[in-house]
Structures are given as structure tokens and as C-alpha cells.
């Protein structure tokens, strides 16, 4: 069944979108990531204009994160204070990201920026995750215990200290704000929630306990992506609500299926698969930049 998307102005198969939403939903349920970093490139592949894909994906992440955070609130695994501090940075970052996005759109380099950001971040995250999970698998075979990470680093020597009760931390507000800014910029440019950067940053940079990390990350992603959605909707008119709804329906169903599959698999195995997948998307986008394209010319909206 073909659906004509009102904002993207392309006709796509509705079942394809439901299916894509479903597959990414399964993966996000299995691995505990938002899935935006996979969905946005997939939307590029099926011919959705990049600007629409990025803006609409931000809207879809609001839905999936909201669904996820409700479960975490029930289990009291959300550090709301930390979330709000991250948020301050997130809003600054999102506003900066939109400015950058619009500037590059005007000079015709937005596709490059989005693709380059993807290649760099997917490459780094995928690579690190692949190495880390392989090492964990080898260690568990060797019977050695995983060493505990050190809790004191440069982060603890900065001013403006604050107490974060749910995380059991007493640290400066500066690092969380900086992390928030970085994720906010990425959310605006890449149309992702930034969970795949936020989660490692919270564990390794801020030293937060793992059990509150996912819930807190989701909590602040909702506000950042909601803000991004509003900015894209009012300045670029690129949020396609019909596209968002189709992806969202597939996504929430897939997430439930994925969660059940995830329970039956080993954590390290899951992470290796996720890493391989992330690297595959990265390789595809990277080759597009490196190999000579079959069509050198592209058309954009004209006029100044």
C-alpha cells in the first residue's frame, strides 16, 4: 500500500515503513538503544529527503523514549536532577545544532555534515563496542573477572559541585552540562536522541551507576528531541507527521518483541551483534563518501 507523505512529498510503501520501524524497534528493544542512529540512515536509503528524515526521526524518538522512561520511573531508576542538569546543556546544544544545520543547508553541505557525523560517530562507537565486547567474551571464557573502573578522575576537581542523590554522586555541574551540549548538537544535526553517546559518557566520564544511566538518558533525550522537533517544525517545516506515525507504530511493537529476544541472549553476544551492525551502517555511509558516486549532480530547492 503506497502512502503519499505530505511533507516529504514522496510516495512510499506503508508496509515498508512499518517493517523498518519494526526491525529497528526489535533492535532497540534488544540492545537498549533508541535506534535513531540506524533509522535515519535507513530513511536516506529509501529516498526520504535527509532534512525530513532527520526532523521526523527526532519526533519518533520522543515516542519511543517516553514509552521507555515510564517503565524506568516505575522502577525509580531515573536521576531527575542529573537529567535536568544534562538538559540545560542539551538545550544549548540543540539550539547550536539547529543554527549549524540551517547554515550548512544554505551552503549545500548539510548532507555531507549529516553523513560525516554518522560515519565518525558510528565508526568510533561501533569500533569501541566491538573491541570491548570481544574482550568481555574472551575474559568470560578465560574465567577472569572484569576489573572495576576507577571512580575518581579529573571530573571530580572542578568547581560548582552539586549533589545527585539518585546517582550517589557529588560532582561539578560542568561535565554534565558539556555532555548535554555535545549530545544536543548531535541530536539536532543527526536526528538521533544521542543515547549511544550519552550512555557511555555517563558511565565513563561522570561515573554514574549503570542502573540509573539508561532511565536518566531517556528522560533527558525526551526533552532534547522534543525541543529539536519543535525547532525543525517551526524553522524548516520538515517534520512529517504521517511518516512519524508509521515508524512509531512499527517501532513500539518491535521493541516489545526485541525485549523478549534480548532476555534470552548473553549481554556480550548482543553487544557484538550491535557493534557489527553499527559498523556495517558506518561502512555503507563511508563508502558513499569515498567512492565516486554514480550521479555527481544533485538537485536542491533554489532561490536565496
Amino acid at each position: 500500500m503506497q502512502i503519499y507523505l505530505p511533507i516529504a512529498e514522496v510516495s512510499v510503501n506503508a508496509f515498508l515503513l512499518l517493517g523498518l520501524g519494526g526491525i529497528v524497534g526489535v533492535l532497540s528493544g534488544m540492545f537498549g538503544v533508541g535506534g535513531g542512529f540506524l533509522m535515519t540512515p535507513l530513511l536516506f536509503f529509501i529516498g526520504i529527503p535527509p532534512a525530513v528524515a532527520v526532523a521526523t526521526e527526532a519526533n519518533q524518538i520522543v515516542a519511543s523514549s517516553f514509552s521507555g522512561v515510564l517503565a524506568h520511573l516505575k522502577r525509580k531508576t531515573v536521576d531527575i536532577k542529573m537529567g535536568l542538569v544534562l538538559q540545560v546543556g542539551g538545550l544549548i546544544g540543540a539550539a547550536m545544532g539547529i543554527q549549524l544545520f540551517n547554515y550548512l543547508k544554505a551552503i549545500g553541505q548539510v548532507d555531507l555534515l549529516v553523513k560525516l557525523s554518522y560515519v565518525i560517530f558510528l565508526g568510533i562507537i561501533g569500533g569501541l563496542m566491538f573491541v570491548e565486547s570481544l574482550r568481555a567474551i574472551l575474559k568470560s571464557r578465560g574465567g577472569q573477572s572484569v576489573p572495576t573502573r576507577r571512580r575518581h578522575n579529573w571530573v571530580h576537581n572542578l568547581p560548582f559541585k552539586m549533589k545527585f542523590r539518585a546517582s550517589g554522586l557529588y560532582i561539578s555541574a560542568i561535565p554534565p552540562i558539556l555532555v548535554g551540549v555535545l549530545v544536543g548538537v548531535l541530536a539536532a544535526i543527526m536526528g538521533v536522541g544521542g543515547g549511544f553517546i550519552m550512555v557511555p559518557a555517563m558511565i565513563y566520564v561522570l561515573g554514574m551507576p549503570t542502573k540509573v544511566v539508561v532511565g536518566t538518558s531517556l528522560f533527558q533525550i525526551i526533552i532534547t528531541t522534543a525541543f529539536t522537533t519543535m525547532m525543525h517544525a517551526t524553522t524548516n517545516y520538515t517534520v512529517d507527521v504521517a511518516l512519524a506515525v508509521l515508524l512509531l507504530v512499527g517501532g513500539v511493537i518491535g521493541a516489545q518483541v526485541g525485549t523478549r529476544i534480548g532476555v534470552k541472549m548473553k549481554a556480550e553476544q548482543l553487544r557484538v551483534f550491535l557493534a557489527i551492525m553499527v559498523l556495517a551502517v558506518c561502512a555503507k555511509l563511508g563508502l558513499d563518501l569515498l567512492l565516486m558516486p554514480s550521479e555527481l549532480y544533485s538537485l536542491g530547492a533554489g532561490g536565496h
Binding site: I7, S11, V239, V241, Q256, D288, P293, L296, G300
Partner: protein, 255 residues
């Protein structure tokens, strides 16, 4: 010699009104409005007509050319080049106007029924329909124009179907123009040219209104005119869906 022919062509153009009185086009369209709904999968327009004559037909092969064109919009054409090892958009050319859709159907090979002079005077062929601005960045603007035609042809937006107009007894003609699913809205125009030996005998034009309707129309208008409200609506839908899914699966899992 060449000058003599162009003089002859100019004379033929001057002689136009006289011959136009002798032969006229009477034409109709199967639909003069196309509605883009949520399930729009493309459409087809049947264009038909007859040649009305007051006197016996003059000597010479009669040709019919039908053009359906979408609204013209300015576009920016960018060309990639390898910079620092990766392919990036390097130079660009502003196209002042290029039709969003352009279909030509003819009763015989294009060059046989449309003279180059007539083609230029009435902007009939696809390259004639594109107006390019001079660019300081590049000198090879014609490559950019070719790229527009190549990309849009591949997307099924530009097409030329020679021989697609059926003619009966040099009087009745009809053709079908396919409108693809990735159509954009606007005022479309159908033009019909009746030619004899490459020179214009009569012409006719009609407009076709292509617009989004229903939900598509409403969403598009809301997104552009009430952007803030539209953004809030998108968020409300997302939050409701997220909450709904969570609630539904909680109940579903419990049972």
C-alpha cells in the same frame, strides 16, 4: 543558403495567422484536476481532440505534439568533486526555472514535426523548458542542465514519447500522459501544437490543477501556516503513542 532558409522560416511564422484560421484544434482532457490523496499512486490523463477545418486540408504531413508541464521552480544544481579524499558538493549553478514535471507526446519523431525555430519560439523540447542563470563558479552550465534532465527523467518526471499520439485520418487525435506518484502540486498546463512540415498551424492550451486534498492538504497547510501548532501536535501524537504502547503492553503482558 542557411540565411535563406531562416528567412523562409520567418516568413512562415508571419504567415501563421492566415493558416490558423483554416485549421483549428478542438481539444478536451479526461480530467482537469488531479487530487493527491494519502493513497495517491499516480494518475493518467487522456488528452483528445480534433482538427477543425473550414477548407480542404492543405498538402503536407500533419503533426500533433502534446506537452504537459508542471509549475516551474528555481532549483540549485550541485556537483560533487573529490576534496580531501571524500566526495563533497563543490560547485553549483542556479537554475532560474525548471518545470517540476514535463511530458511530451508526439505523433511522429519530434524533429520531423517541430522545426528548430518553432521549438525555440514556443519552448517545446525538454532542454528548452529549462532556464539557467549564468554562474561565476563554472563555465560548463550546459552539463548542469543535462544533469537536471537526467535526474528528473530517471525519477519519471521528464519524458518524451515520440509516436504516442494516435492520429486518425489527419483529424482525430488522442494520447495518454502518465502522472507519477511522486508528483508535486501546482498549476499544470497542457499544450497542444498542430504542425505541418514542422511549422505551426494551430495551438491550444488548457490548465490542470494538481493539489493535495483531505488529510494531505490539511497537514501540509498546518505545517507551513501554523508551524508551532503542528510541532506541538506532532509531539502530542508521539507522547500519546509512547504512553499508549507502554500502557497497552503492560495490560497485555499481565493477562
Amino acid at each position: 543558403m542557411k540565411r535563406f532558409f531562416s528567412l523562409l522560416a520567418a516568413l512562415a511564422t508571419f504567415a501563421l495567422p492566415a493558416s490558423a484560421q483554416q485549421e483549428e484544434i478542438v481539444a478536451g482532457l479526461s480530467q482537469n484536476a488531479v487530487q493527491i490523496t494519502a493513497t495517491f499512486v499516480g494518475s493518467e490523463i487522456l488528452i483528445f481532440g480534433a482538427v477543425k477545418r473550414d477548407a480542404p486540408a492543405p498538402i503536407g504531413d500533419l503533426g500533433v505534439t502534446v506537452v504537459v508541464e508542471g509549475p516551474s521552480k528555481p532549483i540549485t544544481v550541485r556537483r560533487k568533486a573529490k576534496r580531501m579524499g571524500i566526495w563533497v558538493n563543490a560547485d553549483s549553478v542556479e537554475v532560474e526555472a525548471a518545470p517540476s514535471f514535463y511530458a511530451i507526446a508526439t505523433s511522429a519523431p519530434f524533429d520531423e514535426i517541430i522545426s528548430p525555430e518553432l521549438n525555440r519560439a514556443r519552448d517545446i523540447s525538454i532542454p528548452e523548458s529549462i532556464r539557467i542563470l549564468e554562474s561565476e563558479e563554472t563555465t560548463d552550465t550546459e552539463n548542469f542542465a543535462e544533469a537536471v534532465i537526467r535526474i528528473r527523467s530517471k525519477a519519471g518526471l521528464y519524458m518524451i514519447n515520440e509516436g504516442a499520439v494516435n492520429m486518425n485520418e489527419d483529424t482525430l487525435f488522442n494520447t495518454r500522459i502518465e502522472l507519477p506518484a511522486n508528483l508535486t502540486e501546482g498549476d499544470y498546463r497542457a499544450r497542444i501544437y498542430l504542425t505541418r512540415g514542422g511549422e505551426l498551424v494551430a495551438e491550444h492550451s488548457a490548465s490542470i490543477d494538481v493539489s493535495k486534498v483531505g488529510l494531505e492538504r490539511w497537514l501540509y497547510n498546518l505545517a507551513h501556516q501554523q508551524a508551532f501548532l503542528y510541532g506541538l501536535m506532532s509531539l502530542a501524537i508521539a507522547i500519546a503513542a509512547g504512553w499508549g504502547a507502554s500502557a497497552f503492553f503492560r495490560v497485555f503482558l499481565r493477562s
